[in-house]
Symmetry: D2
């Protein structure tokens, strides 16, 4: 049974990853590390996860003696640790943005100088529904951003069919997406009874979505705007696609059914999804609507930003990397 390290386990994503590894029948949670909370028990920070391990300071000599690692560091801080683990033969799923962008110049413009650019070509984009074959046996996986996860699942069938003439993505997310840091933004009083857009015109997930859409056949600039709403976990993508050709409801549904009918973690539904439907799961629930009046397709995709958007998707990738059934430990 492979030993797994979770580095950066004091944040929301790392803590959930630790819980999922601990309960996984085929992995062993070897250690959890934290830069800010070393010495405290993870169960003290997150009682509901019930992972009763002490957070340790990272120690490469000791901690690189594992088979795999999930790294939940902030972008920029992640690359050096991932490189060090990779060099020591540890298979890594990185949850930061550091290995998602293939074009170094785009990375630098978006996040600043890259700490391990030599590894960019090796990284597989960890969205199993799009990169399943490449993930089998991969050594280095870049976990997608939560917004790109839902957005790409919402848009892939249309992009592959060459039908995308324009894209507006309006996203709504719960507060856990903003991380554990206590700030003016995450204060209860700032969030409660409020709805607000943020990073208008400048969110870092935009180039990531555009990169992957281009791979799928839709190479165009998109509008992407996230909004913060008073919810803990959950994310809804509302995608408005200008169609480059005619498409009625039956054809639109058919396109998505063909794409996803064998996917264990994508559900196509007749009614609009709510994020509560998928909270605490690895599911992406999708609803499509052909708006013939405007020539647009409307696609709504709901995920749990911490699960399918981050940590459970990392387990899904890890399952593939080790040749396990993709669903292991995810129900």
């Amino acid at each position: 049974m492979p030993d797994v390290l979770v580095a950066g386990a004091s944040g929301y994503a790392g803590a959930l990853a630790a819980r999922l590894v601990q309960r996984h029948p085929e992995f062993h949670l070897r250690a959890v590390t934290s830069r800010s909370d070393a010495g405290r028990r993870l169960s003290e920070l997150y009682p509901h996860h019930r992972v009763d391990l002490v957070l340790e300071p990272i120690d490469l000599d000791e901690h690189s003696d594992v088979d795999a690692a999930i790294v939940a560091y902030p972008h920029g801080a992640s690359a050096p640790l991932v490189a060090a683990l990779h060099e020591r033969g540890v298979r890594v799923v990185d949850l930061s943005a550091d290995f998602r962008l293939r074009d170094l110049a785009v990375y630098d413009a978006t996040y600043g100088e890259h700490g391990a650019p030599q590894l960019l070509p090796d990284a597989v984009y960890g969205l199993p529904e799009l990169y399943r074959e490449q993930l089998r046996g991969a050594d280095l996986v870049a976990g997608p951003g939560c917004f790109p996860t839902a957005a790409l699942l919402a848009l892939a069938p249309l992009a592959r069919a060459g039908l995308v003439g324009g894209v507006v993505i309006d996203a709504k997310t719960g507060v856990s997406g903003a991380g554990r840091a206590a700030t003016d933004v995450t204060h209860f009083v700032s969030i409660n009874e409020n709805i607000s857009p943020y990073k208008v015109g400048a969110h870092r997930h935009t180039p990531e979505i555009e990169q992957e859409l281009a791979v799928l056949g839709a190479d165009l600039p998109i509008s992407f705007t996230p909004h913060l709403v008073p919810v803990d976990q959950g994310e809804l993508i509302s995608a408005y696609v200008d169609l480059s050709g005619p498409l009625d409801q039956a054809a639109l549904v058919g396109l998505f059914r063909d794409a996803y009918e064998d996917e264990p973690f994508v559900e196509l539904y007749d009614t609009p999804p709510g994020v509560f439907d998928v909270q605490g799961t690895n599911m992406c629930r999708i609803h499509v609507h052909a708006e013939e009046r405007t020539g647009r397709a409307l696609v709504f995709a709901a995920i749990d930003n911490l699960w399918k958007g981050t940590s459970s998707q990392a387990i899904q990738s890890l399952n593939l990397m080790y040749g396990y059934d993709e669903e292991t430990g995810l129900w």
Copy 2:
């Protein structure tokens, strides 16, 4: 001092209208009526409004002896009462959809048969920022829907400038917009920790927005999708406009500044608005962003759906109808 009747005061909109009339220095709240809760005190249903009047059953003989009425009935039920009051010389602000649409065929297709079609030509659309002159001295005012209020304030400057090539409106609203009726949808457990789109492709406010956009010079079908989020009061419109010509940030801001700099209830802001900023006020707070990369203008408009979106805007109209300062009783 004109005597004012509020009919349908047991719903959220009517109750707030009653409170605003009661505190207004130039109007006298004569009576409040209710079909479902006659006999109860309004202060029992809504303690925080502190309007200590008994809800009466409507009695045209008695209640038409007022100067003005705010009618807060559901669409369809409203037209006959409005017609009866109008016939008796009462000036009316109607909060339902019954007098908003100018094309009877569109009304019938959207809401069913109209109860007083002969009055449609007389009704003034009660959005003071667009119809101020017509509202002065008007006898019959159709209060706009809450979504059209924010959407039209967000789009009017672009529509008048002939710059609108395509429109996607993604709206988020608090639960009071769904009304006081206790249903599966409005149950706390359905709303809490949830985000969900509703009436996808079929919301009744779409033809209303399209009608008024056409008047402003943008005659085109639009996409409009509302989403329900766990908030009491508040509504955010995120409008994505395909520009038919080039427009940079300075020009976009200039367009909106010219349109709104003298408006007492429209605020142009440098940062994206949150609905909490306008909760309990008659303000509409707007932020604009020229996204040159995609050729779109992004416009965000926040209102309180019960205030500027419904009841306080009705007072704003009533002020104009009586020649008072438009801001009277609204601070």
Copy 3:
């Protein structure tokens, strides 16, 4: 593997019970029934439970051909169905109040006439921490109320030690405790931004708590007041106990440690519990404080009202009834 029926599965408690049975490794979920929603899929009502069965109308001929049943009917309606199933040899865990009170006169005064009083002597009170031995092999189990569950776990060690001189219980609960019915009380707008006591001096769980406290050695009238707060699931009991003898913090902690150190589902903690710590679990988390200044012991107990307070506790009892490990299917 025993076949299990869940009757009344369209309510919150029944739906969760169905999900827990379905995922249980030693039980088979045979059917789910509903009086109000027969014909609909359970997965349509509760997508997040992912129980894809059609709700059937109850049919004793067909449905009594199971080994066990969990009955989630309202009090009063439950007794006849429980009696019918019991007569046909089905082992039953009843989630209603119908078999909790041993004194028929108290039942009648609290809930009205009883539908199957002859069964009262047979029913075992389904709180495993207090009635473990009686539950092994039982045929009829009365699942405790959610408030009594937490209150009795909070008070049992003190009651058994003869230290209880007076009891005030102040409870706070999430809205799911009020059930799925859409009412003025459960409307989002009624709950959000609100905190309110209800059934002051008259809650039906009071005699149930008093009955069981008397069994434990504390036969006295208590004050019990529940409060509704804007939370989905979760319940906190704050118990203020006038001590009949001296007790310092070490002795108080010792008393609780002795009582619960071997209990798999009761956690004693050094810090006050939050309901989020136990949400979605069968745990009861307890914190005790000896307030020597006032001669009181303060005990705080947090549970998930739908899990340990109702449905997962029913599974815990069912495990005991079948001789399985008590924790089976509960992690």
Copy 4:
């Protein structure tokens, strides 16, 4: 018209005080100061208060040239500023704990060394319902804590009647009571879907409540435990009073009616109060229940912790200090 300074206006209490002064017909808001946010506009921090002044660093030479000041500093930091203003002839309402406790030893034990002990005898406790006469013309007023405000209004009639044999106060409060500081505790994710007690057995408001209860005739140690719930503003006190003599419902109601029938800001109600009923007001809403079964009186009191609990009550005191009608500017 007296010039008023609000010092410490970047916190919740100070910001609201500034808004209330600005809208007050008889006071002029001269300046707002802040130690942490000097240079920013108050309207940028709190858009919904609409006070468009720049926060200044405190400057005694300049700012003591006012008639009155509301000081919203943390305890300990407040005393020196209050003393300096007092010395310069400025009338002060202090919102901190620094002048609430009459016994210096109790202050020191609770909050640390006092910065201006010589002023303690001069300070009037700013609860107008108890100290109205002393407040008329006072120069230095100590605004009560929010919990003591509600607790004392709930208990005063019983204490004065000599009926208090024991007191348990269980309080529930919204998050604004924890202040504007962004911490783990105030993070949205920590509060949402949570209910938790805090400062068990050790809250600093306990000696304040006991001091004032003793003045009223009930000199005894009390149990007081606050709980944090997911609400912005609002506070509910549930008081359980062991009666030292018999009292039925009619007598209990009579006692409270006599005490409060002429109070403009205390409402006695037949049904339990919700905090939403008083949100954004200076009201305290009270419900009493004689529980003859246990010999206790249950008293529930709801206030808005930032309004009647802090800032609007400061205005109420300021009105009295200046001889204005107590209700001025508070509706």
